[in-house]
Structures are given as C-alpha cells and as structure tokens.
C-alpha cells in the first residue's frame, strides 16, 4: 500500500498526462450511443422535415422543390389561423390555471397531516396514467346524452337543459382546457411542493415575528424564493402544452368543424389524414420559431440563475 502511494506520487506527471488522453477518448466512447440515436432520429428528421416542407410531396408521390409555397398556402388557410389562435389561447389559459391551482395545492400539502404520503401519491395519478386513456374517461363524462356532469349540474339546479359540451366550438375548447388543467395541476403541485420544502420555515417565522400577515409572508418571502422553480416548471409546461396532440385528438379530433385544432392536430390531419405530407410538415415546423423562443428564454434564465 505504502509502496504504491509513494511510487504514485513520484511518477505523477506522466500518468496524469496519459489520463488526460484517456479521459477524452473515454468521454467520446461514452457519448457515441447517445449521439448516434439522437442524430439519426432527431437531427436527421429535422433536416428531412425542412426539406419536406419546401417541396410538394404527397403520399406515394415524390414531390419537387417549391420553395416557400407550402408556408404561403398554409398562412392563407383559415383553419391554420384558427389553430394558431387556439394554440396560444389553450397554452395561455391552461398555464395560468395550472400555476394558480398547482401552487394552491402545493401550499395545502406543505404541512404535516395524517395520510400525507398517501394523498401525495394519489394526487399524481392524473399525471402518470396514460393521457389518452384518462382523456377517454373525460370524453365519456362530457358525452351530451349520458353526461354525469350535466346530471350533477342539473341536480344542483344550475342548468335546466343539457349542455352539449363537445358539440359547440367554444364549449369544446373549454372542455379541452379543463382536461388539460386537470392533468397538469399534479405536476405543478408536486414540483412546487419540492420547491417549497427547500425554503426554511425560519424565514416565515422571522417574518411573522416582524408582524407580517400571512398574505405578506407569502408575497414577500415565499414567492421570490420559489420563483426559480416556478419559472422552470412553467416553461416546461408551456412547451408541452404548446405542442400538445393527444388530448385534442381524443376529445374532439379538432372538431366541431375544425374549430379546436392545435398546430399538432392540424399537422396530423393534413399530413397523415389527407396525405399532404409536405403541407403537414410545414404546419408542424411552424411551431418551431415559438418553441425556439421559449427554449432560448429558458436557457438564458437558467444561466442567469446559475451565475448568480
């Protein structure tokens, strides 16, 4: 033991040099599988998608280069414009509700009570159960003829006749928003709860001794400390919601009369449903500038927090 230690310290410069070499090669080898898979199934499709959106491919027909014609056509398409508006509305409204309700739920959970672990485990269920499957349960609950929601509202005296939840464009959008909020609140609540638990209760106590009311304690102590976690959670959720597909696909399929399409469902309808691959790819790629902006904001924010 002693011998190796001594010889190690004497011969130090050479192994360290060799290790530097070693380290680079090892890093390279360790990164190869990841690079191959991500290159093949993210970078390559991205390039392919850009090319596809610039020509006129349909199913079975190899297209030719048409420049920005697809984007021009899509831009003048009223369904596309509705989808753009829907996507922003859907993302904005759901994010506000998910944040407000999620924060409320996190605060409710951030104390000691019996069965806390169980409640927390159950609360996450909407987030882990496959979205398509739980959305079907909602669709069944919103069914105009057999709706348990209509029954409840009727029994409570709020309505006198049926509400056609998914048949009316505005109500259909509202229904989709409700389901998205339902699915997203647990994610916000559990993430924000993790953030709340890192805030020392002593800060709260100190503020209370100084005479701060509960609301002031939240606004001036808890909220600023929670902001970094909140920002990251919100940005993650915004990206997921902006690019959402399955929820709308199951609830309305973009209907009634194409009123509830988002970018992704409209791209699916054009590209896979109708076979206009190039136009579908163009609609999908139209998401890119917005997603890119969100990612840049997120990276800048993370960098700022890290350097502080």
């Amino acid at each position: 033991m002693a011998v190796t230690a001594v010889s190690g310290s004497v011969a130090r410069p050479i192994p360290r040099l060799r290790r530097m070499e070693d380290e680079r090669w090892l890093a390279f080898a360790l990164l190869v599988p990841t690079a191959v898979l991500l290159g093949l199934f993210i970078a390559y499709p991205f390039v392919e998608g850009v090319l596809l959106s610039l020509n006129s491919t349909r199913v079975g027909i190899k297209g030719e280069f048409v420049g920005l014609k697809n984007f021009d056509k899509v831009w003048n398409d009223s369904i596309f414009r509705t989808s753009v508006w829907n996507t922003f509305w859907y993302t904005g409204v759901t994010t506000v509700f998910k944040l407000a309700l999620g924060l409320w739920l996190a605060i409710l959970l951030n104390r000691h009570f019996r069965g806390k672990a169980l409640v927390r485990a159950f609360i996450l269920l909407p987030f882990i159960i496959p979205t398509v499957l739980s959305t079907f349960a909602w669709k069944w609950m919103f069914d105009p003829t057999f709706s348990v929601i209509n029954w409840t509202l009727f029994q409570l005296g709020f309505i006198t006749q049926r509400i056609n939840w998914l048949g009316d464009p505005d109500l259909a959008m509202t229904s989709i928003i409700i389901v998205n909020v339902w699915r997203g609140v647990p994610f916000f609540a559990i993430s924000l709860l993790a953030g709340l638990q890192t805030i020392s209760p002593e800060l709260q106590e100190a503020a209370a001794i100084d005479g701060a009311r509960p609301w002031q304690r939240f606004w001036h102590v808890t909220w600023p400390l929670l902001l970094p976690v909140t920002m990251v959670v919100v940005l993650f959720s915004v990206i997921q919601t902006f690019a959402d597909f399955q929820l709308v696909y199951v609830m309305t399929g973009g209907g009634p009369a194409n009123a509830t399409h988002l970018f992704a469902t409209y791209a699916y309808q054009l590209g896979i449903g109708t076979g206009l691959l190039s136009e579908g790819a163009a609609v999908s790629l139209a998401m890119f500038p917005f997603l890119f902006l969100i990612v840049v904001v997120q990276l800048l924010y993370i960098r700022r927090v890290e350097t502080r």
Binding site: E23, T34, L124, S134, A137, F245
Partner: protein, 283 residues
C-alpha cells in the same frame, strides 16, 4: 403555523384539499364504475328518471371479456410492455454513460454538448413526426415494435442524461480518486464505484422513462398500422371506435386495465418517481 379555531383549519385547508383530491380522482372512479356497468344502464340518458350515476347494482364482466375475446387487447398489453421495457433499458444505458461523461470527465465542448442534450430534451414529438414517419418507412421499420423502440429513446435519453448528470455531480470526486489510487482503471472505477452509488438515480430515471414510453401516443399512432402490432393507447383508440360509434364499456375497461401496469410500477416506486420528476425540473 395555523392560529385560531378548528373551523379555520377546515375552511382553509381540509375542505379545499378534499375537493382537490375528489376532482383529481373522480375520472378514475368513473372509469372503474363504467367498466363494471351493464350496457342497459350505461346507455341511459342523464335526464332519465332512473339514471343512477355513482353506483351499479348489476356489476358485469362483459366489457372485460369483450376486450379479450373480440379484440387483441392482450397483444396490445404485451406490445406496450415490451416496447416500454426495451426502450427504457436502451435509454438508461445511453443516458447513464452520457451523463457520466458530461458530469465527471474533462473534454472539449462538454458544456456545449450538455446544452445540446438539454435542448433535445425540449423537442416535442409533434414537431418531427411526419418526416420521422418517412424515415421509419425508408429504414423498413414501419409497423414493427422496433420503430418505437428506436425512436422513444430520442425523448428518453435526454431526460435520463440530464437526471443522471445531477446525480453524478453530487458524488464526491475523492471516491473515484481513491479507487484509481488503488489501481482501478477509469472504466472500472465507473462501473464498480460510481454506478452503485448512483443506483437511486438510475431507478428514478428508469421509472420515469417507463411511464413516459407507456404514455407515448403520436409515434405509435403514426408508425403502427396492423391491429396486432398496436400499443394500448393506440389500440383502444382505433379498434373500439367504429365510425361514430364508441364502445364505451370496453373502452373504459381498456383504459382501466391499460393503466394498471403503470399504476403498479408507480405505486412501488412513488418516492423515486417524485424525485425523478422534481429532479427533471431542477436539472
């Protein structure tokens, strides 16, 4: 924390919490009750006099039997399980290696590569599904489980890498250096010293990746076409709706049974799942 009478605790904490739990869990109750409700009761309009939403006196297994006898539901479950398991293993393998390299080795562009992986983590599946479908077809992978096993890692690896980087960074350098002084190669130090310490992180990443692949929908919808190859979410969507007719009984039975494997995995590893979830957010 809470001053004042017991009623305040109820009004401000207990009642809101009970409402939250009720609303969050009610759709699952609805799934269960629909699964066991006979068709005669199921298709009774909500304003009928004998509409009885919350209970049934004539539970039946018909819907579940229909699922197994008239559709390939058993196949879909096996397909989903196989695809989720294999893509999780592949992603863990790649993610652990890449996470280790990015967190613990010095090499040029390490920071840049970390950012690239973080950005791919944020690429949604809906951005690339149309060109990817073409690529899958050109590789002759269409309508096989491999089309999903090879593409799911694109959103699982970045997540696993990111999570593992956090774990690896938290392990002190000295641990590895001790092993190296005792004569272990860098590779051996990684396998025998660092990986065992990082097992909780690997478990978290694995559980999370498994639920994500079980949940995936659009790739499975686009890449698979024959009924026997489908995964549970796609099979339920495409085979239990014919035109405008929804087979609600079997649909809810399928949704319930299709959720059970994820729920079981989750229930065993709640803590790991939660730390994966919050770890993925904190980065």
């Amino acid at each position: 924390m809470i001053e004042g009478a017991a009623w305040r605790k109820w009004v401000f904490y207990n009642i809101p919490l009970i409402l939250f739990v009720f609303v969050l869990l009610f759709p699952f109750y609805w799934m269960i009750i629909t699964t066991f409700r006979p068709d005669g009761e199921l298709y009774r309009p909500w304003n009928a006099a004998n509409y009885q939403p919350f209970w049934t006196n004539n539970p039946t297994l018909d819907h579940i039997l229909y699922l197994f006898e008239e559709t390939s539901f058993g196949r879909w479950m096996l397909n989903t399980m196989f695809i989720a398991a294999v893509s999780t293993v592949i992603s863990l393998f790649c993610g652990v290696l890449a996470g280790y390299a990015l967190a613990r080795l010095n090499f040029p562009f390490a920071g840049g590569l970390g950012t690239v992986i973080f950005v791919t983590y944020l690429v949604p599946q809906t951005l690339l599904f149309i060109p990817l479908a073409e690529i899958i077809r050109n590789f002759r992978l269409g309508d096989t489980p491999w089309s999903l096993i090879l593409t799911y890692p694109t959103f699982l690896i970045p997540f696993c890498t990111w999570l593992m980087m956090g774990y690896f960074k938290a392990i002190p350098k000295e641990l590895e250096e001790c092993a190296r002084i005792d004569g272990a190669s860098r590779w051996k130090a990684m396998i025998y010293i660092i990986l065992p310490v990082a097992v909780p992180g690997i478990l978290s990443a694995g559980i999370f990746a498994f639920t994500l692949s079980w949940n995936e929908f659009i790739y499975a919808l686009v890449f698979l076409s024959s009924p026997d190859q489908k995964t549970v979410p796609v099979g339920v969507t495409s085979e239990l709706i014919r035109g405008d007719v929804f087979f609600w009984g079997p649909l809810m039975a399928g949704a319930l049974l299709g959720s059970i494997p994820v729920a079981i995995v989750y229930s065993f590893f709640v803590e790991h799942y939660v730390s994966g979830l919050t770890g993925s957010v904190k980065g």
